[in-house]
C-alpha cells in the first residue's frame, strides 16, 4: 500500500462523494420519496461514506507515519517534540518529492520538512512556466481536517433530517407578510436544503485537500456561494436575502486582498503550489519546480524564512532592466550577472515588501472568511440561515477555513505579518466577546462567541503557536457545533431565539441541557488544572501559554496576553449567562415552556456524539495518538525554533512553541485561564442564578457602554456611512455622467450632423407634407414607418458615407504626402 497513491485516492473520493450527492439531489431531489424525504438519506449516506474514506485515510496515514511519542499532553514536557516525528518525515519525503530534500536534515527536527504528499489531478491553464491546476497536498493536517469535517458534517446531516422536518410539507412563514395581508405560503424545501449542504461539503473538502492557492481560492468562493444559498435559504424573508448578500460581499472584500496576495506571489514566483512539483521543462527533461514552501524556506537556509529570488528580482526590476539592457546582445551573460547580484539585492531589502504584501493579502482573505475584525460583521447576520447550517458552515468548518489557510500558508508569513495577525486576532476576540455579553438572541451569542474563538486561533498563529491555533480549531469545531445544535434543539422546542423568553428548560429538555453544559464547559476550558480537562482546556491553555511566552519575549506586545486572558473571562461569563438564562431558574414565558419538549432521538443522538468528542478531543490516547501530537507531525519546517527577526516593524521574537509547554509560563497560563474562567462563571451565576446582582441594574449603571455594546459598536452603521453610501453615490454619479455628460455631447454631435444632413430632408418634407413642425426636429419622430425610415435615414447614411469618404481621402493624402516627405 503506497500512501503516495492511496491517500490521494481515498481523500479524492471522500471529496467527490458529496458532489455526486449534490448532482443527484439537484436533478431528482423532489422525486426522492414523499416530498423529497429520501434526499436526506442520500446526502447523509454520501457524507458518511466520505467519513469512512477519511477514516481509512487516517488509518493509512498512521500506519506509515505513526504518532509515536507519548507526547500530547500539551501540558507535558517540552522534549516530547523531539521524538514525536524525528523518524517519520524522511521516508515520506523520499516518496513525494523525488528525493530532492529527503534526508539531509533528518537529524535535526527543527529543520525537517513535515511528511506530505502532493500532486496534480488536472490542469486549468498552462502557458510557459505558468500553470494553474487542481491537485492535492496531503499532510497530517489535511487528514485530520478531513476526518473532523466529515464527522461533524455527518452528525449535522443526521440532526438536520429531524430539524428540517417542517420542510417536508407545505409551509406557512409567519414572519413574512404579503401585500394582501396574508402570510407567505410555500411548498417545503427539504431536498433543496440537503442539496446545498452536499455542495457545501464538497466545496469545503476541496479547500482542505487543495494543493495550491488558486485551488483554495476556487473552493473558497464556492463555499462562499454555498453559504449564500444556505443563509438565504428562507429567501422570501428580506432579512435572510440581505444577510446572504452581505456575507458574500463582505467576503469578497477579503477576497480582494487575497487576490492581491496571490498576484504578489504569482507575478514574482510564477507558482501557487505549496509543495514542489515535478514536470518537464521545454527540453523535455524532468525537473523539480519548487513550490511556495520551499521557495520561501529553502533547504539552503535550513528552512529559515528568506525572500525568494523571484521576489528580489521583481522588486529590483529597475536594476534587472539595466543589466539586461547592458547585455542586450548576450542574454546569458545578463542572466548570470543578475543571478550573481540577487543575494546583494536581497541583503539590501529588495522584495521584503512584496513578501509582506503576499502574507497580508492572503491574510485578508482569511479575515473575511474567518470573520475577523474588521470584516466580522457578516457572521452574526448569517444566523438567518437554519440552525444546522449555522453549526456546520458558520462555526465549525467554513469560517475555520481562514484559520486553516493561515496554518497552511504559515511558512510564508514574515514576522511582521504574524504581528498583524496576532493583533487582529486579539482585537477580534475581545471585541466579539464584549458584544456577546449583551446579546439576547441565543444564536447571536453563539455567533459572537464563534468570532471571538476564531480570534483566539488567529492570535495563536500570530504569536507563533502553530499547533495551538490549529488545535483550537479542531476542539472548537466539536464544541461549537455541539453548542449550535443544542441551541437549535432549544429553538425547535420554543420556536423563538430570544433567551429572555426562555428559562427553566433543563427540566423539560434534560439531554439538550446536559450536552449544552458540556459544550459550555468545553469552550471556557474547564478542567482540573494540571490534571485533566475538557477539550477546550488543552487548546485554550496552549494559546494562553504561547501568548504569554510571546509577551515575555516581546514586552512591548504584552497587551496580547492581557487581551487573551480578559477574553477568557468574558467567554466564561457570556457562555454561562446563556446557559443559565436558557436552562436554569424558572420559566419566564409560561406559554413557551408549556409547549417545550425534548427533541426527537434523531436530533439528540448527534448531540451526544459531539458532546463526547467535546470532552475527549484534547486527550491523548495511550498509544500517543492525539490531535495535537498529530498536528505536531505537520508542523512546517523551520517553525519549531525560536526566531528573532523583523523586517519592517523592528525586531520581533517568535518564541518556539514547545517552550510555552514548560515551567513557569505553562503554570502561569494554566492558572490564569482557570482563574478567569472561574470568575466568569461565578459572575454569571451571581447575576442569573443567585440574583445577587441584577442584570438590569448593571445595564442601567453602565448605560452608555451597554448601549454601545448592544448596538454592536455601531459597526454596521459605520460601514454603511463610510463604505456603502459612498459606493452607491459613486455608482449613481457614474450613471449620471453617462446620461448627463457623455450622452449630451453625443446628442449634440448627432443634432449638428442631422441639421447638415437634414437640409434636403427638410425640402422633401415641406413638399410632401406641406407643413413643417419646428419642434419635430428636436426629437426623432416616434412610430415611424419602415418605408420612412429607409428613405429618410438611408439618405443620411449615404450622405455620411460620402462626406466621410471625402474627408478621409483628403486626410489620407495629406498624411501620406507628409509621410513620404519624411
Amino acid at each position: 500500500m503506497d500512501p503516495a497513491s492511496t491517500l490521494p485516492l481515498l481523500l479524492g473520493l471522500a471529496w467527490l462523494t458529496p458532489l455526486v450527492s449534490f448532482v443527484a439531489i439537484l436533478f431528482f431531489g423532489p422525486r426522492m420519496g414523499p416530498h423529497g424525504k429520501s434526499s436526506a438519506a442520500v446526502a447523509t449516506a454520501a457524507i458518511v461514506v466520505s467519513l469512512a474514506l477519511s477514516l481509512a485515510a487516517l488509518g493509512t496515514w498512521l500506519s506509515v507515519h505513526p504518532v509515536q511519542a507519548v507526547s500530547h499532553d500539551s501540558h507535558a514536557a517540552a522534549d516530547s517534540h523531539a521524538d514525536s516525528h524525528a523518524d517519520s518525515h524522511a521516508d515520506s519525503h523520499a516518496d513525494s518529492h523525488a528525493d530532492s530534500h529527503a534526508d539531509s536534515h533528518a537529524d535535526s527536527h527543527d529543520q525537517a520538512l513535515p511528511p506530505a504528499y502532493s500532486g496534480d489531478w488536472y490542469t486549468l491553464y498552462e502557458g510557459g512556466a505558468l500553470k494553474l491546476s487542481i491537485g492535492w497536498y496531503i499532510d497530517a493536517l489535511t487528514v485530520l481536517m478531513f476526518v473532523v469535517v466529515t464527522f461533524i458534517a455527518s452528525c449535522i446531516h443526521i440532526y438536520a433530517a429531524g430539524y428540517m422536518h417542517d420542510e417536508l410539507h407545505d409551509f406557512t412563514d409567519h414572519t413574512v407578510h404579503l401585500s394582501d395581508g396574508s402570510h407567505f405560503h410555500r411548498p417545503g424545501r427539504f431536498s433543496r436544503f440537503f442539496q446545498s449542504l452536499s455542495l457545501f461539503c464538497f466545496s469545503m473538502l476541496g479547500i482542505v485537500i487543495a494543493g495550491n492557492l488558486a485551488m483554495i481560492f476556487i473552493f473558497w468562493e464556492l463555499v462562499g456561494i454555498c453559504s449564500w444559498f444556505l443563509i438565504g435559504f428562507y429567501y422570501e424573508r428580506q432579512s435572510a436575502s440581505n444577510a446572504a448578500n452581505k456575507a458574500f460581499i463582505v467576503n469578497r472584500v477579503g477576497d480582494f486582498g487575497m487576490i492581491i496576495g496571490m498576484m504578489a506571489l504569482w507575478g514574482a514566483l510564477g507558482t501557487l503550489h505549496f509543495a514542489d512539483s515535478s514536470g518537464q521543462n521545454s527540453a523535455g527533461i524532468e525537473t523539480i519546480r519548487p513550490g511556495l514552501l520551499s521557495l520561501v524556506r529553502p533547504e539552503a537556509t535550513h528552512h529559515a524564512l528568506h525572500v525568494p529570488d523571484g521576489m528580489v528580482k521583481f522588486a529590483a526590476a529597475d536594476r534587472v532592466a539595466e543589466i539586461t539592457l547592458d547585455h542586450a546582445t548576450r542574454t546569458e551573460d545578463g542572466a548570470s550577472e543578475i543571478a550573481s547580484r540577487v543575494d546583494d539585492w536581497r541583503a539590501m531589502g529588495y522584495g521584503r515588501w512584496l513578501l509582506f504584501v503576499a502574507g497580508i493579502g492572503i491574510f485578508c482573505g482569511c479575515v473575511g472568511k474567518s470573520a475577523q475584525f474588521p470584516l466580522f460583521v457578516w457572521l452574526p447576520d448569517a444566523m438567518e440561515g437554519p440552525t444546522p447550517v449555522s453549526a456546520l458552515v458558520h462555526s465549525a468548518t467554513m469560517v475555520a477555513a481562514g484559520v486553516f489557510l493561515m496554518g497552511r500558508f504559515y511558512p510564508v508569513l514574515t514576522p511582521d505579518v504574524l504581528l498583524v495577525i496576532a493583533y487582529t486576532g486579539a482585537i477580534t476576540l475581545f471585541l466579539a466577546a464584549t458584544i456577546a455579553l449583551v446579546a439576547t438572541d441565543i444564536k447571536q451569542v453563539l455567533a459572537y462567541s464563534t468570532i471571538s474563538q476564531l480570534g483566539y486561533m488567529m492570535l495563536a498563529l500570530g504569536v507563533g503557536g502553530w499547533v495551538a491555533g490549529l488545535f483550537h480549531l479542531f476542539t472548537h469545531a466539536f464544541f461549537k457545533s455541539l453548542l449550535f445544535l443544542c441551541s437549535g434543539s432549544v429553538i425547535h422546542a420554543c420556536h423563538t431565539n430570544d433567551m429572555r423568553k426562555m428559562g427553566g428548560l433543563a427540566k423539560v429538555m434534560p439531554w439538550t441541557a446536559g450536552t449544552m453544559l458540556v459544550g459550555c464547559l468545553a469552550i471556557i476550558g474547564a478542567g482540573v488544572p494540571f490534571v485533566i480537562g475538557l477539550s477546550g482546556y488543552y487548546s485554550k491553555d496552549s494559546i494562553l501559554a504561547q501568548a504569554l511566552s510571546f509577551s515575555q519575549a516581546n514586552p512591548s506586545h504584552s497587551i496580547l496576553f492581557v487581551a487573551a486572558t480578559g477574553g477568557a473571562f468574558l467567554t466564561a461569563f457570556y457562555m454561562f449567562r446563556l446557559w443559565f438564562m436558557t436552562f436554569a431558574g424558572q420559566p419566564r414565558d409560561a406559554h413557551i415552556s408549556e409547549h417545550a419538549h425534548e427533541s426527537p432521538r434523531v436530533m439528540v443522538a448527534p448531540l451526544v456524539a459531539l458532546a463526547i468528542l467535546a470532552i475527549v478531543a484534547g486527550w491523548s490516547l495511550p498509544g500517543g495518538f492525539g490531535i495535537a501530537a498529530m498536528l505536531e507531525q505537520a508542523r512546517p519546517a523551520g517553525t519549531a525554533a525560536t526566531v528573532t527577526s523583523g523586517y519592517l516593524f523592528g525586531s520581533l521574537t517568535i518564541p518556539a512553541e514547545h517552550e510555552s509547554h514548560v515551567g513557569a509560563i505553562h503554570e502561569t497560563a494554566t492558572l490564569a485561564a482557570f482563574a478567569t474562567a472561574a470568575a466568569g462563571v461565578l459572575l454569571a451565576a451571581m447575576m442569573y442564578v443567585w440574583r445577587i446582582l441584577s442584570p438590569l441594574a448593571v445595564a442601567w449603571v453602565f448605560r452608555p457602554i451597554y448601549t454601545f455594546l448592544k448596538q454592536r459598536w455601531y459597526f454596521d452603521e459605520l460601514y454603511g456611512a463610510i463604505f456603502v453610501q459612498p459606493v452607491l453615490g459613486i455608482a449613481s454619479l457614474a450613471s449620471s455622467i453617462d446620461l448627463g455628460v457623455i450622452d449630451k455631447i453625443i446628442d449634440g454631435v448627432a443634432w449638428t450632423a442631422r441639421q447638415l444632413a437634414g437640409i434636403d430632408a427638410w425640402i422633401d418634407r415641406t413638399l410632401v407634407d406641406g407643413l413643417v413642425n419646428a419642434t419635430a426636429s428636436a426629437t426623432w419622430s416616434a412610430g415611424i414607418e419602415l418605408k420612412k425610415l429607409q428613405t429618410g435615414h438611408l439618405r443620411q447614411y449615404v450622405m455620411f458615407i460620402v462626406i466621410g469618404t471625402v474627408a478621409m481621402f483628403v486626410l489620407a493624402s495629406l498624411l501620406l504626402r507628409s509621410s513620404l516627405a519624411a
Binding site: T324, S735, A750
Partner: protein, 603 residues
C-alpha cells in the same frame, strides 16, 4: 495563381459556406416568391440555416466529430494560420479574397455560429415584419463571420461595414420605444470608428511594401501561396522582387511581418511628429474600442441593448463586442508593435477604467437590461486589460508567459462572456416577454413562480459574477493575475472590481428572483419556462459549466496561437531594445556608471 488550383483549396467551400450561406439564404428569402405571410416557414428556414452553419463550423473546429478527418479541418494545437483560402479579387490594388482561421479566430467563429443559432431560436416572439427581420438577421451573421475569417484588411473592412447596416435596422425597426434614438447613436459611434479605421487601413496600405519581406516571410504571410508548386511559386516571388515601385498590400499577415521587421516603415515614417504606426494604432484602437466598448465611448451600448429585441441583444453582447477585442489582438498589436508597446498603458488603463466604471454604473441601474449592459462594459474591460499587459520588458528579462497569460485570459473572457452575456440578456428577455417591464424594483419572488427558469438564470448570473466552476471565473482570474507584472496599481484596481461585481449581480438577483412576492404588473403572466426557451437557456448554462470546469477545452485551441504571437512580440521587444540600446551604447558609459553610483549611494 491558376484558378483551377485555387478552387481546389480544401477550406474554400467550408469557410465560404460558413460566411456566405446566411447571406445566400437571406437573398433567397428576400425574393418576392416567398410570401410575407409564411412567417412560420421563414422562421424555420432561418433557424435551419443558422443550424447548418453551426454544424459546418463545428465540423471544421472539432476534427473527427462527424467521422473522418478532412484536410480542411482545424488542427488543434497548431499555432499558425490554417484553412487558408486565397483568391484574387480586386487585382489592381492587390485586394484578395483571403480567408483563414487560427486558434484566435476559430473559437470565435464557432461562438458566433452557435449564438446565431440560439438567437434565431430566440426570435420566435418577433412578429413584426418577420421576413425583413430574418433577412437582416442572416446578413448580420454573414458580416460577423466574415470579419473573423478575413485576412485581407480591405475584405475585413467590407465585412465590418456589412455588419453595421443590418444591426442599425434591427435596432431601429424592431426595438423598443426609443429605438430610433438608440439606432442612430449606435450608428454614429460605429460610423466614427469605421471612418477612422479606414483611414488607418489606407495609411498602412500606402506605407507597406512587399518587397521588403524575405522569401520565407512572403510564404508565411501567404502573399505567395506556399501550397502551389515550386516553379510558379518562385516565379511569383521573382515577380515581386522585379517590381520597381513599392507593392502595397492589404494582407494582414504581411502587414504584421512588415510591422515587426527591424526597419519597419510604419515606425520609420513620421506624420506630424508621430510615427505612422502610432497614428495607425490609435485610429484602429479608437475604431475597435468603440465596439468593445470602453469608457468613455460606451454609451451607445446601454441604449442599444435596452432598445434592441432580445435576440439582437444576445448577438450584440455575445459577438459584436468581441469584434473589438479581436481586432485589437489580430491587427493592432501584430501590425504596430512599437505603438503597442508605448501605448500599453492606454490599452490597460482603458480596460481598468471600463471595469470599474462599468461596475459602478451597473450598480446604479434600475432597468434590468441596462444593468446587464453595463456589466458587459465591465467584463469587456478585462479583455482590454488582458490584451494590453505587455510585461515582457527588460525589467522582467523579457519573460513572455505573464503577458501570454493575460492574452489567453482575455481570449477566454471573450468566449466566456459570449456565453454568459448572451445568457443574461436572454434571461432578461424571458421575463420581459411575460410582464413587459424591466424595472428591477418591480420584480421579486420569481423563484417561487418560475423555479426552473430562475435556477438557470441564477446560474448564468453567477457565471457573470465570475464564480469558480463557471466560465466567467477563468478569464477574470487569469487577466487579474497577469496584470500585476505590468502595473501594480492597475492590478489592485482590477482586483477591486470583484467586490463591485458581486454587489450588482447579487443585488439584482435578490430584487428579481428572491423575495416573497412579485411586485410588478402582469403577475398572472409569469408562467413557467417553455420548452423553446429551455432549449435556448439550457445549452448556455451547460456550456457555462463545462468551460468553467474544463477550460482546457478552449485553451487547447487558443493557447498555441496566442503564445506564439506573444512570444514573437516578446522577441520583438528584445530586438527593439537592442537596436535602441545600440544607439544608447554610443552614449558614454559614464552615464550608466553615474546611475550605478547614485543607485549605490541611495542604500
Amino acid at each position: 495563381m491558376p484558378p483551377m488550383h485555387a478552387l481546389s483549396q480544401p477550406a474554400l467551400w467550408p469557410l465560404s459556406a460558413i460566411v456566405f450561406l446566411p447571406a445566400l439564404v437571406a437573398a433567397l428569402l428576400s425574393l418576392p416568391i416567398i410570401p410575407k405571410a409564411r412567417e412560420e416557414f421563414i422562421r424555420w428556414v432561418a433557424l435551419a440555416t443558422t443550424a447548418v452553419v453551426f454544424a459546418i463550423s463545428l465540423w471544421m473546429a472539432v476534427p473527427g466529430l462527424f467521422g473522418a478527418i478532412g484536410p480542411a479541418q482545424f488542427q488543434v494545437g497548431e499555432a499558425g494560420m490554417q484553412g487558408i483560402v486565397k483568391l484574387p479579387w480586386i487585382e489592381p490594388f492587390g485586394i484578395e479574397y483571403l480567408l483563414g482561421v487560427d486558434g484566435i479566430s476559430m473559437p470565435l467563429v464557432v461562438l458566433t455560429t452557435f449564438l446565431s443559432m440560439l438567437a434565431a431560436a430566440a426570435s420566435w416572439p418577433i412578429t413584426k415584419h418577420v421576413k425583413a427581420y430574418f433577412v437582416l438577421f442572416l446578413l448580420l451573421e454573414t458580416g460577423m463571420l466574415g470579419v473573423f475569417v478575413s485576412l485581407d484588411f480591405f475584405l475585413f473592412y467590407v465585412f465590418w461595414e456589412v455588419m453595421l447596416l443590418p444591426m442599425y435596422f434591427l435596432i431601429g425597426i424592431w426595438g423598443g420605444p426609443r429605438r430610433e434614438y438608440a439606432a442612430i447613436k449606435f450608428f454614429l459611434y460605429t460610423l466614427l470608428g469605421s471612418v477612422l479605421m479606414l483611414l488607418a487601413i489606407l495609411m498602412l496600405y500606402f506605407a507597406s511594401d512587399l518587397r521588403s519581406l524575405s522569401d520565407e516571410q512572403l510564404l508565411a504571410a501567404h502573399v505567395v501561396s506556399p501550397a502551389i508548386a515550386a516553379a510558379p511559386r518562385e516565379a511569383a516571388i521573382a515577380a515581386i522582387r522585379a517590381n520597381d515601385a513599392p507593392i502595397h498590400t492589404f494582407n494582414l499577415l504581411a502587414l504584421a511581418q512588415i510591422g515587426q521587421s527591424a526597419n519597419s516603415p510604419f515606425a520609420a515614417s513620421k506624420v506630424w511628429g508621430m510615427s505612422l504606426e502610432m497614428w495607425a494604432f490609435l485610429l484602429l484602437l479608437i475604431g475597435f474600442v468603440i465596439k468593445v466598448p470602453v469608457v468613455p465611448v460606451h454609451t451607445w451600448l446601454p441604449d442599444a441593448h435596452v432598445e434592441a429585441p432580445t435576440p439582437i441583444s444576445m448577438i450584440l453582447a455575445g459577438v459584436l463586442l468581441k469584434l473589438g477585442g479581436y481586432g485589437i489582438l489580430r491587427i493592432c498589436y501584430p501590425v504596430c508593435p512599437g505603438a503597442g508597446l508605448s501605448l500599453a498603458w492606454l490599452v490597460c488603463g482603458l480596460g481598468v477604467v471600463s471595469m470599474v466604471y462599468g461596475a459602478f454604473a451597473a450598480l446604479a441601474q434600475k432597468d434590468f437590461k441596462r444593468m446587464v449592459a453595463y456589466s458587459s462594459v465591465s467584463h469587456m474591460g478585462y479583455v482590454m486589460l488582458g490584451i494590453g499587459v505587455w510585461s515582457a520588458v527588460a525589467g522582467q528579462e523579457y519573460r513572455w508567459d505573464a503577458w501570454a497569460q493575460g492574452v489567453n485570459g482575455a481570449m477566454f473572457q471573450m468566449l466566456a462572456h459570449g456565453i454568459s452575456s448572451a445568457g443574461m440578456f436572454f434571461m432578461v428577455g424571458v421575463l420581459y416577454d411575460r410582464v413587459h417591464h424591466r424595472n428591477l424594483n418591480e420584480f421579486g419572488g420569481i423563484f417561487n413562480r418560475m423555479p426552473v427558469y430562475s435556477g438557470l438564470a441564477i446560474a448564468v448570473f453567477f457565471a457573470g459574477l465570475g464564480l469558480p466552476g463557471l466560465c466567467g471565473f477563468i478569464g477574470e482570474v487569469l487577466v487579474t493575475l497577469s496584470s500585476w507584472n505590468y502595473s501594480r496599481v492597475l492590478a489592485v484596481i482590477s482586483a477591486f472590481t470583484v467586490i463591485l461585481t458581486a454587489s450588482y449581480i447579487l443585488w439584482a438577483i435578490q430584487r428579481v428572483y428572491l423575495g416573497a412576492e412579485y411586485k410588478g404588473p402582469h403577475g398572472e403572466a409569469l408562467t413557467p419556462i417553455t420548452p423553446r426557451e429551455l432549449s435556448i437557456a439550457a445549452p448556455l448554462v451547460f456550456l457555462a459549466i463545462v468551460f468553467g470546469v474544463a477550460p482546457q477545452l478552449l485553451f487547447n485551441y487558443v493557447t498555441p496561437t496566442v503564445n506564439r504571437q506573444v512570444e514573437t512580440l516578446a522577441d520583438w521587444t528584445r530586438r527593439h531594445d537592442q537596436s535602441a540600446g545600440s544607439v544608447v551604447a554610443i552614449v558614454p558609459a559614464v552615464t550608466r556608471n553615474e546611475v550605478d553610483a547614485s543607485g549605490e549611494s541611495r542604500e
